[in-house]
Amino acid sequence: MVGCGAVGSLFAANLSLLEDVEVWAFDLNELHVAAINRDGLRLSGAGDVVGHPRATSDAAELPPCGFGIVATKAMHTDAAIAATAHAFADGCVATVQNGLGNEEALARHVERVIRGTTFPAGKLLGPGHVQWDVKGDTTFGPYDERTPLAEVERLADACTRAGMPAQAVEDARGPQWRKVIFNASTNPIGALTGLTHGRVCERPDLRALVTGLVDEGKAVAAAQGIELDADPEELIDHAARPDVAYDHKASMLQDVEARRETEVDYLNGGIVRFGRAGGVPTPLNAAIQALVKGREASWTQS
């Protein structure tokens, strides 16, 4: 596991319960690493689990691994895989990160890359302890012809057996783009306005802006021949229900409130970049990206 934050911990803790899998967790948070090695990695909430992966902040300690799962924030992909690539010389590396461009970053360092999209979510409560907020599915697919589908199936099978349901597909871009479009069209709106997901969706003017962003994303996906596995609009309306995520503050809003760098370059920025490559205009996504980058810039002002 490369990056053992909230999502990484869900995979690491669950997978470590399997008898035929040995899990190593690489993370730069030394307190977290020490706690995992001392007390195990505890999940509570949607599932209560104590796993025992081997944790380290020193990439040189990692043995050769059959699989890597990268779960860092998107802006840290390159540094994380550069440090750990040696462990995956004969393995496959999957991303379960947000956004667009992670596979490309991984493929610059390792041979066999697996595209992944995951919906489970949680948050780090403290060293060695993660709250498991939502269960959900993961979809894996080969990034290119160098990754055998059989290896993707082996990874999906292990995750499923560990209680993290996953499926292997030939082309995993559909679920990836559905999630990217969902996130890019809602997260920054929450971040810029301070509203929860439900309140964004119940304002008709703002909901129309969300649809404008969704439509640009769909056009960019269609230009690449990507078939979305479901309409992001349905996901957005579903999440707005009071019993689902009405009161949820998007992760980007949490980032903005904590003045942390956001993933906007990999969400809206990714849509803009792929749009430009495919000749599809994305003025609203570009505007949103510029506004969020401006917000980040305001924190470094005196």
């Binding site: 810029l192 509203l195 370059d265 003025p283 505007a287 510029a290 506004l291 810039a297």
Partner: protein, 307 residues
């Protein structure tokens, strides 16, 4: 001496009242009686680019305003204009009323509350209030005056000359719309972007080196505004993009009022600025998707105050 009423004593109202008091009989209409009392007792101190204390009348009661006022300047924020105009109904007989709010539509709000002859003004000067009876004069840029209802360019010129005589910059125009629209597009863009990003009006607004730099968005927003002005038959007095670039080169970091408003969780002037631009666009059939997005985002930001 000319008798002048200045209604609203924020930074712009205070600067106008204090300077005009050197050449006219000025009465300030405040919202709070203690504010009026402070002005009556201490006078109104100006610091910064000028240094004097003006003696003037002040009251919080519209009925106590002098009967013979020739000019009344409504210098409140646009968000307070409707209630101010309502308070003034039936008063100021014989006075010409001048609006000086940001955005568009201030004249119509006032026109609905009385038969006064109307002048329009936009101001580029700025100040900072340091208390009820002290204002700092910061930017000495001009106030522009033009005729509106029942007034002529000559009326506008007389007011501009009075303001100049008091020591401020002013200029009269036969038609204020070109200047008003230049400022409208500039304000809608700069205020909206500042409110959402938290950035003061600084170099980021003119930066275009990288594709995701903010300057591209600012220029696209300005271009939408220019298309609306063209469709409305208004030839702009200044190019709002050049106004933006110039302002970012002045070297001091200006905090636009809409940014200060959202940070203090106050209602903003969004409706008369961005709202006005979006409604004009709709009226003239011009698509302004980016200004519309900006307008909706700031409006939603105001709604988040209750979160």
């Amino acid at each position: 001496m000319t008798s002048v009423v200045v209604a609203g004593a924020g930074s712009i109202g205070s600067l106008l009242a204090a300077h005009l008091a050197r050449v006219a009989d000025v009465t300030v209409l405040t919202r709070r009686e203690e504010h009026a009392a402070a002005l009556r007792e201490d006078g109104l101190r100006v610091s910064g680019r000028a240094d004097f204390t003006a003696r003037l009348g002040a009251t919080a009661d519209p009925a106590a305003l002098p009967g013979g006022a020739e000019l009344a300047i409504l210098a409140c924020k646009s968000t307070d204009l409707e209630s101010l105009a309502a308070r003034l109904e039936g008063t100021l007989a014989g006075a010409t009323v001048m609006t000086i709010q940001n955005g568009l539509g201030a004249e119509e709000i006032v026109a609905a509350h009385g038969e006064w002859p109307l002048l329009s003004a936009v101001t580029f000067m700025s100040g900072t209030r340091h208390g009820d009876a002290h204002v700092e004069y910061v930017l000495d840029t001009a106030t522009w005056v033009g005729p509106h209802r029942g007034t002529t360019e000559a009326d506008a010129r007389r007011v501009a000359e009075l303001i100049q005589a008091g020591g401020l910059q002013a200029e009269a125009f036969p038609d204020l719309r070109p200047a008003q629209w230049s400022k409208l597009i500039f304000n809608a863009t700069v205020n909206g972007v500042a409110a959402l990003t938290g950035l003061p009006h600084d170099f980021h607004f003119a930066q275009t080196a990288e594709l995701s730099d903010l300057g591209h968005l600012v220029r696209d927003l300005v271009d939408e505004g220019k298309a609306v002005a063209a469709a409305a038959g208004v030839e702009l007095h200044d190019d709002p993009w050049e106004m933006n670039v110039l302002a970012t080169q002045r070297g001091h970091r200006h905090f636009p009022s809409m940014l200060e408003d959202v940070e203090a969780r106050r209602p903003t002037e969004l409706e008369l600025i961005n709202g006005a631009l979006v409604r004009e666009a709709e009226r003239h059939g011009v698509a302004v998707p980016l200004q519309t997005a900006l307008y909706r985002l700031v409006k939603a930001r105001e709604a988040s105050y209750s979160e």
